[in-house]
């Protein structure tokens, strides 16, 4: 296992400690609940936006806490939903008179934990609600499963809700924004390699030297099919097709395109994908008015990428443009 780790069982608290040390003015860290909350705490005049999920998707979740984004977040073990108490304590630490919106990526473990935590918080008089994000087009919804997965589109939900909340919008309004973003965002990913959770020590799945998994989930869940690796343009065209047809997006739409790296893919390769996606979007008549190329929702060191398209309107564009400050930063 080629990783920078000490005791694998302590991997999550150790990296959270590092994030907190690196952001002393921005964040407070509560090790007991693997929870990070804005240093300034919740503001009773503003809705709090919280999230939490398994680790291994960074910068998603705790690295998205800060002004303009999340109020607080908690982490589970790598790829495992956080403990119920972590979720409950995060809601409590972010409790605000204006209410708390819990943004949950749609996975069964996460949903159950946040369901319980939200029920407990509501029972204590906290005005908390949940919203489920499910932008992944790879897996079809089904009566028998918990439904579509929440993946990189999550970033846009957090960003827009965070901006709306900080602008003083009400809980109903912020929830309506979450719904608007979720209704207008679609994603599909492809994995070229597997990845190794530190505590497991072995790859989460096996994949041949010349194979890729199209439609992979962010925990290595199988997608639509396993096939021979293709050129960047062919892969991009396949992702684009799947994503674009789902809502569907229409000619004339103003859109944001995100090319998200799954962790082990260099940014240059993401730009090769972006170039093709941009061309296809223009060919389809979309106006590409925003773009996001980099790592937003990862699977540890997995080589791979996902393509997200978000349909915009004046409201969402303004929310995307609002300033935000998180542990994920360059300067």
């Amino acid at each position: 296992m080629k990783k920078f780790v000490n005791d694998p069982a302590q991997f999550v608290p150790e990296f959270m400690h590092g994030i907190a040390l690196a952001n002393p003015d921005l964040l407070s860290y509560t090790p007991e609940f693997q929870m990070i909350v804005r240093k300034s705490g919740p503001d009773n005049a503003k809705v709090s936006v919280v999230q939490g999920s398994g680790s291994g998707h960074e910068p998603a979740h705790v690295m998205a806490v800060g002004p303009g984004m999340l109020t607080g977040a908690c982490q589970g073990a790598v790829f495992a939903a956080p403990a119920v108490d972590s979720c409950y304590e995060t809601i409590k630490a972010c409790a605000s008179d204006a209410g708390v919106l819990v943004l949950v990526n749609n996975y069964q473990g996460d949903r159950m934990a946040w369901d319980m935590a939200t029920e407990m918080a509501v029972a204590e008089g906290i005005n908390a609600r949940q919203f489920w994000i499910n932008d992944d087009v790879a897996v079809k919804d089904s009566l028998y499963t918990v439904g579509r997965r929440g993946v990189a589109g999550n970033f846009f939900v957090m960003k827009c809700c965070g901006a709306a909340a900080d602008a003083g919008q009400s809980l109903d309004e912020v929830e309506a924004i979450a719904k608007k973003v979720n209704d207008n965002v679609r994603t599909m990913g492809v994995a070229l390699t597997s990845c190794i959770p530190p505590a497991k020590g072995t790859p989460i799945f096996d994949i041949g030297d010349d194979e890729m998994e199209v439609g992979v989930g962010i925990h290595g869940e199988p997608g639509r099919r396993r096939e021979k690796i293709k050129s960047a343009d062919e892969i991009t065209a396949e992702l684009f097709e799947a994503v674009a047809q789902d809502i569907p997006f229409n000619s004339g739409d103003r859109v944001a395109i995100m090319v998200n790296g799954l962790g082990g893919t260099p940014i240059t390769e993401l730009y090769v994908i972006y170039a093709k996606a941009h061309e296809l979007a223009e060919k389809a008549g979309y106006q590409v008015v925003r773009n996001y190329v980099g790592e937003y929702c990862t699977s540890l060191e997995m080589a791979g990428a996902s393509l997200t398209i978000l349909r915009l309107d004046a409201e969402l564009e303004k929310l995307l443009d609002a300033p935000a400050e998180t542990a994920a930063r360059i300067f």
Partner: protein, 224 residues
């Protein structure tokens, strides 16, 4: 004689701790076949903590004890197992508030209430290939034996029902939890939650001197 004392419940919990900790890696490996391989660790984290806090867990009555256990699980267990087992213990606790002795019938009701809670929490039905596929037949057996009041017979029947569930559900496709995300690929692998329930009941048999030989190969292995 058909009464189950606070001490009986305590012993059952301690036995369960041993079962879960002994099988930490084995249960994880089973989850790795179709799921994400964290089941063994998640469960062990919770029961290790129960052992650690054992002396502080209130022994005033069965309900207080189970409530505290539910809280430990909620605090320390992640993944789907946290809410599932936490809910189960919570529901059982609510029926035993203030009691330090219960009848077999009460035990059956506690399990029924836990099953209802788990179903409400995770939406799984019989046949979705989750630990409910073990708990539901176990509940039937306990209910059937409740009138007779023979604890040993009830336990033996229960263990047998869970043991059978391992083999009877092996061919199914999982519809809940991480294993559901691999679709067809989950068929022909045992569900680790069902194996865990069957193993725990088998260990309880041994502990109570109830003679029974496990049949499902995974339970044979986990109790060896």
């Amino acid at each position: 004689m058909a009464e189950i004392s606070q001490a009986d419940i305590e012993r059952a919990i301690k036995t369960t701790c041993a079962t879960v900790l002994r099988n930490e890696h084995y249960f994880a490996d089973l989850d790795g076949l179709a799921g994400d391989g964290d089941f063994g660790t998640s469960l062990a984290t919770g029961f290790r903590q129960i052992e650690k806090e054992w002396d502080e867990i209130p022994k005033t009555d069965i309900g207080a004890m189970l409530l505290k256990i539910s809280m430990i699980v909620s605090k320390h267990v992640g993944g789907s197992s946290g809410p599932i087992w936490g809910t189960g213990f919570m529901k059982a606790a609510m029926l035993t508030r203030g009691k330090s002795e219960i009848a077999l019938q009460d035990l059956a009701q506690m399990l029924g209430s836990a099953i209802e809670g788990i179903q409400a929490r995770g939406g799984a039905q019989l046949g979705d290939k989750t630990l409910l596929d073990a708990l539901i037949p176990v509940h039937e057996k306990l209910t059937a034996q409740a009138a007779g009041g023979d604890k040993a017979a009830a336990l033996k029947d229960a263990a047998e029902a869970a043991d059978n569930a391992v083999d009877e559900t092996r061919h199914l496709v999982a519809h809940r939890g991480r294993a559901s995300q691999v679709g067809e690929r989950s068929a022909n692998t045992p569900d680790p939650g069902i194996v865990a329930i069957a193993t725990i009941l088998q260990d309880w048999c041994k502990d109570c001197g109830v003679e029974r030989t496990p049949t499902a190969p995974e339970v044979v292995k986990a109790t060896a």
